[in-house]
Symmetry: C2
């Protein structure tokens, strides 16, 4: 399940829960989920409020935790705690739901000894139901008493994030920074995430928290997080639906003792690469664990007019129901891939802005199709070239060999546009009968 990043020299990511210095965490079972599994996670910055950045769902039905987190972060760009309730999304619950979430903030404030505006909120689960506040209060109090600065604490929090996730999703990496004393210090960047359905790229993420012991201002963290999300979570799709609760937080404790990371320096480049590598790996874990999925589909587009076009084309391929069904049937159906690529449109202005474009440029691009010339395009499936537009189109290939290669846990579809230097990738999963059954037989 590993695929080299499209650019060489990216940080190596491990799928382990490794707690960065300066944070403590816990996960407990509070009875929100009928299953009795862990459902309240709490992460606390050990030394008081730390700089934070966030990316939120653009859904107009943004849930109460999203609305409250957005409002709290706007005040100071600082956070002392992250609380996550799993099993109830607290979405489409109106003013009463927002009041419930504010009550959760007061509970965390009292239990963990932090200021209420410094609490960030996450929740996930059924839309349209109210939080069981008594259970949440007991759970948060228990979690505050169990806070643990070891790796086990982070793993417990990640466990409590899960809803229908079949596996826990964690990722970690390191890089070296010069400390104030001039010696080299190892900086840790670790992320946890959940999400297997209602996932589609558009500022889209499911729940994720990325922690680092680097030191950086809220502005620096935001400048790093937004383009990293645009290249990773915004390139993830399971089923084309963007949830009401999607949120990513990035918190920097500064506990490594290194100087604040400044934009435009090598330290910023290192932190940016580490955050993006962790985000990319978590997005790949989410795609592989997509509802009903048996196969991770990665589309890599190279030679595009620009990176935004490459990402749009890769997204269109992994989002296609027909491509997803073909991969499920191990059918090297390059016609569906070509058709999907030919439909690609650049994403909304917000995503493009997140990638560093001006609003005017973003609006211009958002209205235009992604550049693609059928007479230059090359397509390969699972390593075998199947289409070359410059040489008559369809290529002869060993169909049974490609079918065998498509039985792997990951199928890579590669496109070369032959138009420029832009590249990008996107992550999805196959469409299976199980997806339909899971989503038609149960209310989720």
């Amino acid at each position: 399940m590993t695929l080299a990043p499209i650019h060489a020299g990216q940080p190596v990511v491990e799928r382990r829960a490794v707690m960065p210095d300066g944070f403590r965490a816990a996960g407990v079972a509070a009875g929100i989920k009928a299953s009795g599994r862990p459902d309240v996670a709490l992460i606390v910055a050990s030394g008081g409020a730390v700089p934070a950045a966030a990316v939120f769902t653009p859904n107009r039905f943004a849930a109460a935790p999203v609305r409250l987190s957005r409002s709290n972060l706007t005040v100071s760009g600082m956070a002392s705690a992250v609380v996550c309730t799993s099993g109830c999304a607290n979405a489409a619950t109106g003013a009463a739901g927002l009041a419930d979430q504010e009550r959760v903030g007061r509970i965390v404030s009292a239990a963990a000894g932090v200021a209420e505006p410094d609490v960030l909120h996450l929740s996930t689960g059924l839309i349209g139901t109210r939080l069981p506040l008594d259970r949440v209060e007991a759970g948060v109090t228990a979690a505050a008493a169990a806070l643990d600065g070891s790796d086990a604490g982070l793993l417990a929090a990640a466990e409590a994030f899960r809803t229908t996730d079949s596996v826990v999703k964690v990722a970690t990496t390191t890089f070296e920074l010069a400390s104030d004393s001039g010696s080299s210090t190892t900086i840790r960047v670790s992320g946890i995430a959940k999400g297997v359905g209602m996932i589609h790229p558009r500022m889209a993420t499911m729940l994720s928290v990325v922690l680092t012991d680097a030191s950086a201002s809220p502005e620096t963290l935001s400048a790093i997080l937004r383009p990293a999300a645009a290249r990773t979570w915004d390139q993830l799709t399971v089923d084309g639906d963007t949830s009401t609760n999607d949120t990513v937080f990035l918190l920097a404790s500064g506990a490594s003792g290194t100087s604040p990371v400044v934009l435009g320096t090598p330290a910023e480049a290192a932190l940016r690469a580490a955050v993006e590598a962790v985000a990319r790996d978590l997005a790949r874990q989410q795609a592989a664990d997509g509802e009903g999925a048996t196969t991770l589909i990665t589309c890599v587009a190279r030679g595009a007019r620009d990176d935004a076009s490459a990402r749009a084309i890769a997204r269109a391929v992994v989002a296609s129901s027909l491509v997803k069904a073909a991969v499920h049937g191990r059918d090297p159906n390059w016609g569906r891939i070509a058709g999907a690529a030919g439909n690609a449109r650049l994403a909304e202005a917000e995503i493009l802005e997140a990638a560093g474009l001006s609003a005017a440029e973003a609006a211009r691009l958002a209205a235009s199709p992604a550049e693609l010339d059928p007479d230059r395009l090359r397509i390969s499936i699972a390593g075998t070239a199947v289409f070359d537009g410059a040489n008559g189109g369809p290529l002869p290939f060993d169909r049974s060999a490609v079918r065998s290669a498509m039985a792997a846990p990951e199928v890579v579809i590669s496109l070369d546009l032959d138009l420029g230097d832009g590249d990008g990738e996107a992550f999805g999963c196959d469409l299976t009968e199980t997806y339909v059954i899971e989503n038609s037989e149960y209310t989720t």
Copy 2:
């Protein structure tokens, strides 16, 4: 399977093949399809070239018939014949495929006695395979010999359009126009269509031909067809994939003997309403016959800021995999409907331009989300109110009664945005295990 149009007083449509005056048609089996079913359709204007208009797929992999038709129509806006081959899309076949299609034009020219640039082309079927020209030539020759100006001729052409369509798709309506002599003349508008998969709104249509015996210039026909497609076929989705071959033609024979329809007159309003009514009914037939579908899903959005927002929101609801799966399971899951509506984005500039906006205005709108206020939205499913944002959100309702109502062949989801006068509708179908099986087990 009938639903009143959202505006009262629209023309009544019948699902019968009724040939307008001035056209002859035929459908024959030429052996392109392995099944031996009819696969070549030919429609010829009896009195020589007639005004025509078209809407084509925006797919960058536009098929050879699309490219040739676009080029031919640009020359004169007139057409003498429409030829359709079914079973081979002639898409992604490069320069050789375009040369094949030009050869089809010469075959039709010789067989039907029309000028080659006045031939319009349609094809549908597998992507990436070449047309069997010998069989096409024999089929076109046989079809030309069988041309029939009766209703049976139009039905034969409609039969030959089909690929995996389970039923033939025809629709017809009439309206009255004053003839040159001052008496009232009945004008006929009839359409035929095919398409059950790779269907998603964006200039999107599958193959359709709409014929009328009214008299109108190519410019008038184009001014009528584009907004009609924007309100009907562009609001149709089966699986989110826009095909390489989508095309609608509108041809006006003038054989009714009435004066040319002039833009801005009552005659134009009557023709516009008739064309849109036929288009809407064909789009609904296509949605109901979606691959693997058991239920037609219609979403009606009212009270939106404007019509474009209403259409975007309705489209987002019927395009949601989670809503589609919930309808399949007869689950009145309004949370998924709210989530999908909250994600709605206005369509690309081209669609908005088709609806009569300037390019600048279209580009501005294309970058913005559709207006929606969760605290004003009302949702009903199959006639039962389930959510009222202004009154706390979720409403109590009889779940088993709604589940029973959702067993009907059509499920209507109604949204009232309470923001303005805009309205719109969209058509889709449920997502079933059969869709996955059909599209993973066979190369189509």
